[in-house]
């Protein structure tokens, strides 16, 4: 991460715009114990109260790392029922990184966030259709299968 991903200009810009970054050794206490760190690199997205919402383990290229962070930010908003902010970040993720590994989960989250903000089941069905069409082999396409019945 330190040699390839963190020096990347787009990564630097995204983090500067959306996040406060902290880097600590894998055995730094009490954080390593509090967050149950077993391997590196482990990158966690937290809200401003220090609560975890998203975690990745292992190397990610810049093209995968940025959408992963975007998904993390979206989850921070989603988990606190800030659905419009979550949806905005998800839409940006899918527009800028539609081929990333984070994209299928972003489609799923988009459907759920829209459902929770509108109470219409249609977004869930749309998420299912899009996952089947664009990401048919992803685990998120499987998770969305019950929505085909809506």
């Amino acid at each position: 991460m330190g040699a390839v991903t963190y020096p990347n200009e787009r990564v630097v810009e995204f983090i500067k715009r959306h996040m406060v970054p902290i880097q600590v050794l894998f055995d730094s206490q009490p954080l390593a114990t509090n967050f149950n760190i077993q391997w590196t690199p482990t990158v966690i997205t937290l809200d401003e109260e220090g609560k975890e919402h998203h975690r990745t383990i292992g190397f990610l290229s810049p093209e995968e790392f940025i959408p992963s962070l975007m998904l993390g930010v979206a989850k921070c908003h989603f988990d606190r029922e800030r659905f419009s902010e979550a949806i905005a970040m998800i839409e940006e993720t899918l527009k800028d990184y539609p081929k990333s590994d984070a994209a299928p989960e972003a489609v799923y989250m988009q459907g759920v966030a829209l459902y929770k903000s509108t109470h219409s089941a249609e977004p869930l069905k749309e998420a299912y259709k899009r996952l089947q069409s664009e990401y048919p082999s992803s685990e998120w396409a499987k998770r969305a299968q019950p929505y085909r019945l809506l």
Binding site: V20, V24, L46, D47
Partner: protein
């Protein structure tokens, strides 16, 4: 534009900054070896 990430080291300071700037926190655990 900043060319490098300005990493913080103090967790409490990071949470204070995140609240003030209305941003999320990126917490990276690394191994220098």
């Amino acid at each position: 534009m900043e060319k490098t990430i300005k990493w913080e080291k103090d967790f409490d300071r990071v949470l204070t900054l995140a609240r003030a700037e209305k941003k999320m926190v990126l917490l990276d655990f690394f191994n220098p070896l």
